[in-house]
Amino acid sequence: MNWTYILSLILFSTGLYIALSRRNAIVVLMGIELMFNAAAINFLISETEPGEGQTMILFILGIAAAEAATGMAIILNLFERFSSIDTSDTTLLK
């Protein structure tokens, strides 16, 4: 019963829940960041040779940063277009 793994699962589920069911786009971004972190924790504890997990975490960190920047750019563009960052208002792609 590895609690770290369970935390990783809980964090991942929480992040997924935020991404699925929050109306504010920025909160969705926060949820995605949580999912990244959960995956990072998982990599940390499940490595086959020493140091492998932490290297993966470095890469995850880089990717997460890039993704956050891009996501924020998208959100700000949305805000300029729709005057709202509510996801239920941006439904033109029906």
Partner: protein
């Protein structure tokens, strides 16, 4: 195959089967001549059957089988084959006689010009198919003619188009017959496929019948297959309604010939049945005899009374078959043909008189019948002979056959177990009931005295002659010759049948006829006297019960109505959806290319607008439901799409790992 006579197949060209067919071809003649040409062909058929009878006298063991190869491919062989047998020739002879008499009768009965050709077409078609049924040997050809007989009877029942109940009665007859045809077909298929038995003559020589491979269900299938044609319980409901047809048709079909096809089938199939099946057959027959007798007592319409009487007598024939006493069954078949036909024709005369009086051609209200005044006494003798023959009084032909049936039943009851005793008691009860309704018939046909003013009504001789012939032939002198009180042995053509006749001796042979005669006469008197004095209240309830046939009619029509409602409901949905799809195509095109409106709700609305009543709300309901469902899926929010991709991932994960 047959014997050395097979090479003289040319003789088979004289089979009475083909002459009605030729009569049909000659129906192209003008309507006034048509009846004479058809009568001519019926006469020729009669002479031909006489010819074959004499053939059997000269060569007692004559039998010929005539094979017409039809389908012969690998693994499947089916031919028609006809077989001349003593049984089939004898019954064919009687069929030809009755058809001829009915032909003479209907020359005058069907008097309107417009109906002549139709009636003769149906009548000759029926005669052709009945004779074909009698002569056919292979199961396939037998089934073909069986269906054709049912179809001809359907045509004849629904002959009067303007009457409301003709159509439903015809449909009822057809459907009931079709139900038992299914069982019959299943039984035949079993025999053909499993046992490689293609025809009736292979039945007695095949070892398959006695082997354990014969599935236990086959005899039951075959028993049920013969039930509806002979109007046995539980498929007897069509026969009373079939009286909506013209009287000659009723006389021919539902008294003498078609209903005996079931009995003929059972006679032919006797090698298949073992003891238990014969017991069931006997019980079915005895029960139908009781049923018919009981329901006949309460009827007020004479044709329906005669119909129930037919059911009862056919039950008697089935009982005879079940005691393995084919001879008495055949003789009863023949005698019953004559007296029942005579009774029907008499009823027809009474109705005819009423119709010509009321000058309304298609109104056949069967509760109104009256005999013309100046013929009353003359008819009394004829009707009395016929009725007494029905009940089985000595000196009549009905006595001979009925006694032999009862004697063979008694013999079975004595040696076997209690079920035969029950059957015997039921049959005796049916004799009593027969007497009762015969008395009632006499009273009914003579008590109706209203509205006869003319005393100089002339019944055309064509109507009278068949009745006279039938009633004369119901006397026992014509059957046994000088042995007036004779048993079955003394019937003059009994040597023709080449079947062993069980002869009963001992004390029962004397007591039983006395008992049954007493029962019959007693029933007759009771029926005659009680009909005009219904003073007993509980009897009234019984009579109501019997009129409504224990409400079994209503049960069947209720079941039918449930199914027809279900099928009409399904039909509507089917039509709606089909038409809806056709419209959807057109509307979708117009919407997409002209209005750029892609949503399903718009399509549904547009369909409702253009189609109006054609597409009811059912289909647009589908569209709306679909719309509501799809609206959830396709709302444009990314999170919804994410939601479903998570579900998909879960499913994939489960599928791969678990």
């Amino acid at each position: 195959m047959g014997d050395p006579q097979v090479h003289s197949l040319l003789k088979l060209i004289y089979l009475p089967v083909w002459f009605p067919l030729a009569g049909i071809i000659f129906l192209v003649l003008p309507s006034s001549v048509v009846k004479y040409s058809s009568l001519f062909f019926q006469l020729v058929a009669l002479i031909a059957s006489l010819f074959f009878i004499q053939l059997f006298y000269t060569q007692p063991y004559f039998s010929a089988t005539w094979n017409i190869p039809w389908i012969d491919i690998i693994g499947f062989k089916a031919d028609f084959s006809f077989r001349l047998d003593n049984i089939s020739c004898l019954i064919a002879f009687i069929v030809c006689i009755i058809s001829f008499l009915v032909g003479i009768y209907s020359c005058s009965y069907i008097s309107s010009k417009s109906e002549q050709k139709k009636f003769w077409l149906f009548l000759l078609l029926f005669q052709f198919s009945m004779l074909g049924l009698l002569f056919s040997n292979a199961f396939i050809s037998f089934f073909l003619f069986w269906e054709l007989v049912g179809f001809s009877s359907f045509l004849l029942i629904g002959f009067y188009n303007s009457k409301k109940e003709s159509g439903s009665a015809a449909m009822k007859a057809f459907i009931f017959n079709k139900i038992s045809d299914l069982f019959l077909l299943a039984g035949f298929i079993f025999l053909i496929v499993k046992g490689d038995i293609n025809s009736f003559d292979k039945l007695s020589t095949s070892g398959f019948i006695n082997s354990s491979e014969l599935s236990s269900i086959v005899p039951y299938l075959l028993i049920v297959g013969g039930l509806a044609k002979s109007a046995q319980f539980p498929l007897q409901g069509w026969l009373p309604h079939a009286m909506a047809g013209p009287t000659p048709a009723s006389a021919l079909i539902h008294a003498a010939t078609m209903v005996t096809a079931g009995v003929y089938l059972q006679i032919r199939l006797l090698p298949v049945y073992s003891d238990i099946h014969l017991i069931i057959l006997g019980m079915a027959g005895a029960f139908s005899a009781i049923w018919g007798g009981f329901c006949a007592i309460g009827q007020v319409e004479i044709k329906k009374l005669l119909a129930f009487s037919t059911i009862s007598q056919l039950g008697l024939m089935m009982v005879a078959v079940s005691t393995s006493n084919e001879t008495s069954a055949i003789v009863h078949l023949l005698t019953h043909a004559f007296f029942k036909c005579g009774l029907f024709l008499t009823a027809g005369i009474a109705l005819h008189y009423f119709i010509t009086k009321s000058s309304n051609e298609n109104e056949q209200s069967y509760s109104k019948f009256v005999l013309p005044k100046n013929y009353r006494t003359k008819f009394l003798i004829l009707i009395l002979i016929l009725l007494l023959s029905l009940t089985g009084i000595p000196f009549t032909s009905g006595y001979i056959s009925k006694e032999s049936i009862l004697l063979s039943l008694l013999e079975k009851a004595g040696t076997y177990d209690s079920i035969w005793t029950i059957t015997f008691i039921l049959t005796l009860l049916s004799v009593l009931l027969t007497g009762i309704y015969s008395g009632r018939f006499l009273y009914l046909i003579y008590s109706n005295k209203n509205g006869e003013t003319t005393s100089n009504f002339k019944i055309p001789f064509q109507l009278l002659l068949p009745v006279i012939i039938c009633s004369v032939l119901s006397l026992s002198v014509f059957w046994t010759g000088l042995h007036i009180l004779g048993e079955l042995d003394s019937v003059w053509f009994i040597s023709l049948l080449n079947i062993s006749v069980p002869s009963e001796s001992g004390i029962f042979a004397i007591i039983l006829p006395i008992i049954s005669t007493l029962l019959a006469v007693g029933g007759f008197i009771v029926g005659y006297t009680l009909t005009n004095r219904p003073r007993f209240e509980n009897l009234e309830y019984l009579i109501t019960l019997s009129i409504n046939q224990f409400y079994i009619d209503r049960l069947y029509s209720g079941i039918y109505r449930i199914f027809s409602k279900l099928s009409s409901f399904i039909n509507i949905q089917d039509k709606q959806i089909y038409i809806g799809f056709i419209y959807l195509e057109k509307i979708y095109d117009s919407l997409i290319y002209k209005e750029n409106n892609y949503s399903i709700s718009a399509i549904a609305r547009k369909m409702e607008d253009t189609a109006g009543n054609i597409i009811p709300s059912f289909f647009s309901g589908i569209a709306l439901i679909g719309n509501a469902f799809i609206r959830i899926l396709q709302n444009g929010k990314i999170q919804t799409y994410l939601y479903f991709s998570v579900i998909l991932f879960l499913l994939l994960f489960l599928l791969i790992n678990l």
